[in-house]
C-alpha cells in the first residue's frame, strides 16, 4: 500500500476543492450582498417613512402660509413619489432575505400596499359597521336588534326602500334598452353619422351627478303662473295648454309625488347619464358578432327583427348582463342626485340619502349603521353572482 503513490487523489481533488471554495466565496459574496440589500432596504424604508411623515406634518402645520398651489404640488410629489420610493426599498429588503424566504415573501411584498388599503379602508370598516349596527347611538353598549326594529318601524325608511326598489326595477333595464337602441341605430348610419350621434350620447357620462342636477334644473324649473317659464318642461306644458286652449297651469314637477312621478323624473337624469356607458359596451359587443351568423340567418329568410332577437341578442347577452349589473349596483347606492335635487323631499328619499341624513341630523351611529347593513344585505345576491361568474370565467380560461 505504501508503494502506491498517493498522487492522483490530491491532484484530482484540487480543482474540486477550488470549485467548492469558489462557490463558497460566491455564496458569501452573495449573502454579503443580500445583507447589504436587507440593511439598505430597511434603512431606506425607515428614512423614506420619516421624510414623508415630516413632509405631511409640515404641510398641516404651515397650511396657512404656503400657497395652495405649492401645497398641492408638494403633496402630489410627496404622495406619489413617496409611495414609489417606499415600495422600492420594501422590495430591496425582501430581495435581501435568504433565497428561500425571499421567494416565499416576495408575493406578499407585491400585495402588501393593496391588501393593507383594502383591509383598512374596506374590510375593517365594513365589519365594524355591522358591529355598530347592534350598538347604541354612540357605539358604547349593545342594544341587540333594536336599531333594526326602529329602522323598519320608521315610515321614512319604508318609503326609501320602496323608492330604491323602484329605481332598481326601472333604471338598469331602461339603461340597457337605451344603450341597445342607440348601438343598433348608430351601427346603421354612415361612419360620420355614427361618430356624431354616439358622441352626443356619450357626453353626459363625463358629467357628475351634481353637474347633471344643475343641467336638469333648466328642464324641471318652476315659476308661478303668469311669469315666464324658464324650465323647458313647464314652457312646453304651458305652451301646450295655450295651443289646445286648456290653460294648463305650470307644475312644480319635482314635488309631484303622485304615482312616484317625481322619482321617474329623477331617474330620467340617471338614465340620461348612464345611456352612454351602456351604448359603448353594447356597441362593441354588437360589432364583434360574427357576420357569418347574420348572413346564415339572412339566407334562411329571417327578417331583421328575427335576426336581431334570435341571432344578435343571444350573442351579446353577457355584455347586457354586465351593463345591467353595473347600473344596478350604481342605483342601489344612488345618493348624489337625490341629495342635490330634492334631498328626499316629496317622497323621493332613498336609503343612501337617508343614511347620510341619519349621520348628520341625529348623529345616531347605531341606526345609520343598521341602514347600511340592510343595503349591504341587499347587494349580497349580486355579490354571489359576481363571484360565481368569476369562477366560471376562470374555469374557462
Amino acid at each position: 500500500m505504501s508503494n502506491v503513490p498517493p498522487v492522483e487523489t490530491p491532484a484530482d481533488e484540487k480543482p474540486h476543492r477550488d470549485a467548492e471554495a469558489l462557490r463558497n466565496e460566491k455564496e458569501t459574496a452573495d449573502s454579503k450582498q443580500r445583507l447589504v440589500k436587507l440593511v439598505v432596504g430597511l434603512v431606506g424604508l425607515l428614512v423614506a417613512l420619516a421624510i414623508i411623515g415630516t413632509t405631511f406634518q409640515a404641510l398641516a402645520l404651515y397650511a396657512d402660509t404656503i400657497p395652495r398651489i405649492l401645497q398641492g404640488l408638494i403633496a402630489v410629489v410627496a404622495g406619489v413619489l413617496g409611495a414609489a420610493i417606499l415600495f422600492y426599498f420594501l422590495n430591496m429588503a425582501v430581495e435581501g432575505l435568504p433565497r428561500r424566504a425571499s421567494q416565499a415573501v416576495i408575493p406578499f411584498a407585491f400585495l402588501l400596499p393593496a391588501l393593507l388599503l383594502l383591509g383598512v379602508m374596506l374590510i375593517f370598516p365594513t365589519v365594524q359597521t355591522i358591529h355598530y349596527s347592534f350598538a347604541d347611538a354612540d357605539s358604547e353598549s349593545y342594544v341587540g336588534f333594536q336599531n333594526y326594529v326602529d329602522v323598519f318601524g320608521d315610515p321614512a325608511f319604508r318609503s326609501s326602500i320602496f323608492n330604491n326598489l323602484l329605481w332598481l326595477v326601472i333604471v338598469p333595464a331602461m339603461t340597457v334598452v337605451i344603450g341597445l337602441v342607440v348601438a343598433v341605430l348608430a351601427d346603421r348610419l354612415s361612419t360620420n353619422g355614427e361618430k356624431v350621434s354616439k358622441a352626443s350620447i356619450f357626453v353626459p357620462l363625463a358629467i357628475s351627478f351634481v353637474g347633471a342636477a344643475a343641467i336638469w334644473n333648466f328642464i324641471y324649473a318652476y315659476n308661478p303662473p303668469g311669469d315666464n317659464q324658464i324650465g323647458l318642461l313647464n314652457a312646453l306644458w304651458v305652451g301646450l295648454g295655450d295651443l289646445i286652449g286648456a290653460g294648463l297651469r305650470p307644475v312644480a314637477w319635482l314635488s309631484v309625488s303622485t304615482l312616484s312621478f317625481n322619482d321617474l323624473l329623477l331617474m330620467a337624469i340617471v338614465i340620461w347619464m348612464q345611456g352612454g356607458f351602456a351604448m359603448i359596451l353594447l356597441s362593441s359587443a354588437i360589432k364583434s358578432v360574427p357576420q357569418e351568423t347574420i348572413e346564415a340567418a339572412q339566407i334562411d329568410g329571417a327578417n331583421e327583427w328575427q335576426i336581431f332577437s334570435r341571432v344578435v341578442v343571444p350573442q351579446i347577452r353577457g355584455t347586457m348582463i354586465t351593463v345591467f349589473i353595473t347600473v344596478l349596483v350604481l342605483v342601489l347606492k344612488i345618493f348624489d342626485i337625490i341629495y342635490v335635487t330634492t334631498n328626499g323631499r316629496a317622497d323621493t328619499n332613498v336609503i343612501a340619502n337617508l343614511f347620510f341624513q341619519e349621520i348628520f341630523r341625529t348623529g345616531d351611529n347605531g341606526v345609520a349603521s343598521a341602514i347600511v347593513v340592510i343595503l349591504l344585505i341587499s347587494v349580497t345576491p349580486v355579490l354571489i353572482y359576481q363571484v360565481r361568474h368569476f369562477r366560471r370565467e376562470e374555469a374557462n380560461r
Binding site: 395652495r68 398641492g72 430581495e95 358629467i207 354586465t322 370565467e393
Partner: protein, 287 residues
C-alpha cells in the same frame, strides 16, 4: 353587423330620424345650461334659455357669471383642490393595484384564490358601509387626518382598489407567459420584470383605468363632502353642490360653476376616448 359598405345604401329613414331625435334629446339639456351660463342674471330669471338660442342677436351676453363663479365663489380655488385630490387618487391606486395584479397573475402563494375572490366580492360592497367607522378612524380621535387631502387620497385609493386589481389582472392574464419565463431565466428579479416588461405591456389597461378613476374621483361628491368638507379645501363638485343648495340668489353663478366643473372630465373623456373605450370593453365585456 358592421358591414358598413354593404348596409349604408340600405339605411332607411327610420334609423336616421330616430337617431337624430335621440341625439337632440341627449344634447338639449346640456345646451340649455351652456347658453344660460352666458346670460345675465335678469335675462335668466325672466325668459327661457331657448329664447336666446332662437334670437341670438340683440340679446345680452356676458362673461360675468364665470367671473363671479371663479372669484367670488372661489371656483378657481376649488379647481386647484380638485386637481390636488384627483392626481394622487388616480396614480396611487393604479401603482398599488398593478403590483397586486402582477402577484395574482405571475406568482403563486398560499391563499391566492381566496384573496382574489374576496376582491371580486368587494367590487360590489357599497362604500356607505365603511363611512361611520372611517369617520372615527380618520377623525381627531384616530389618525387626525380628516379634512386633509391625505385622508381623501387614502380613501379613494382604497375604494378604487378592487376594480383596479380586478381589471388589471384580467388584462395581465392575457399577456404571453413565456416572456416572463424567459426573463426569469435571464436572471431578472420580479421587480425588474414588473417595471421593464409588464408595465409597458399593460399601458392600455393602465391608461383606461386611469381615465375611469380620474373622472370618478373628480366627479365624486360623497367622499369629498364627508372627509374634506365645504371649507377652503372643497372640490369643485362640493362647491357646486353648495351653490345648488343656495339657489335663488345665485342661479346664474351656478350655471357657470357647473361648466367649470365639467371641463376637465369632458376633455379627459374626449381626448383619451380611444383608450377609455378600449379599456372599458376589455375590462367589462370579459368580467
Amino acid at each position: 353587423m358592421s358591414a358598413k359598405t354593404e348596409e349604408r345604401g340600405r339605411t332607411g329613414w327610420f334609423p336616421r330620424i330616430m337617431m337624430v331625435l335621440l341625439a337632440l334629446l341627449w344634447t338639449i339639456p346640456s345646451l340649455g345650461l351652456l347658453i344660460s351660463s352666458f346670460r345675465p342674471r335678469i335675462a335668466l330669471e325672466q325668459s327661457g334659455w331657448w329664447t336666446a338660442f332662437f334670437m341670438p342677436f340683440g340679446k345680452e351676453w356676458t362673461l360675468d357669471n364665470y367671473r363671479t363663479a371663479l372669484l367670488a365663489e372661489d371656483m378657481a380655488g376649488s379647481f386647484i383642490n380638485s386637481i390636488v385630490v384627483a392626481i394622487p387618487a388616480t396614480v396611487l391606486p393604479i401603482m398599488f393595484a398593478a403590483f397586486a395584479a402582477y402577484a395574482f397573475t405571475f406568482m403563486s402563494f398560499p391563499g391566492k384564490d381566496i384573496i382574489f375572490v374576496l376582491i371580486v366580492a368587494l367590487l360590489v360592497v357599497p362604500l356607505q358601509a365603511t363611512f361611520v367607522p372611517l369617520l372615527t378612524l380618520l377623525g381627531p380621535e384616530g389618525l387626525g387626518i380628516n379634512g386633509q387631502f391625505l385622508a381623501v387620497w387614502l380613501l379613494h385609493t382604497g375604494f378604487g382598489m378592487p376594480l383596479a386589481v380586478y381589471t388589471i389582472r384580467n388584462y395581465m392574464s392575457t399577456l404571453p407567459r413565456d416572456i416572463i419565463e424567459s426573463a426569469k431565466i435571464d436572471g431578472a428579479t420580479h421587480f425588474q420584470t414588473f417595471w421593464r416588461l409588464i408595465v409597458p405591456m399593460s399601458i392600455p389597461v393602465l391608461a383606461a383605468y386611469a381615465i375611469l378613476q380620474f373622472v370618478w374621483v373628480w366627479n365624486d361628491l360623497l367622499i369629498a363632502l364627508l372627509f374634506l368638507g365645504a371649507g377652503d379645501k372643497s372640490t369643485v363638485i362640493v362647491n357646486l353642490a353648495s351653490l345648488l343648495g343656495t339657489q335663488g340668489q345665485g342661479a346664474e353663478v351656478l350655471t357657470a360653476g357647473a361648466f367649470i366643473s365639467m371641463i376637465v372630465p369632458l376633455l379627459v373623456f374626449f381626448g383619451l376616448q380611444r383608450y377609455f373605450v378600449r379599456g372599458l370593453t376589455a375590462g367589462a365585456v370579459k368580467g
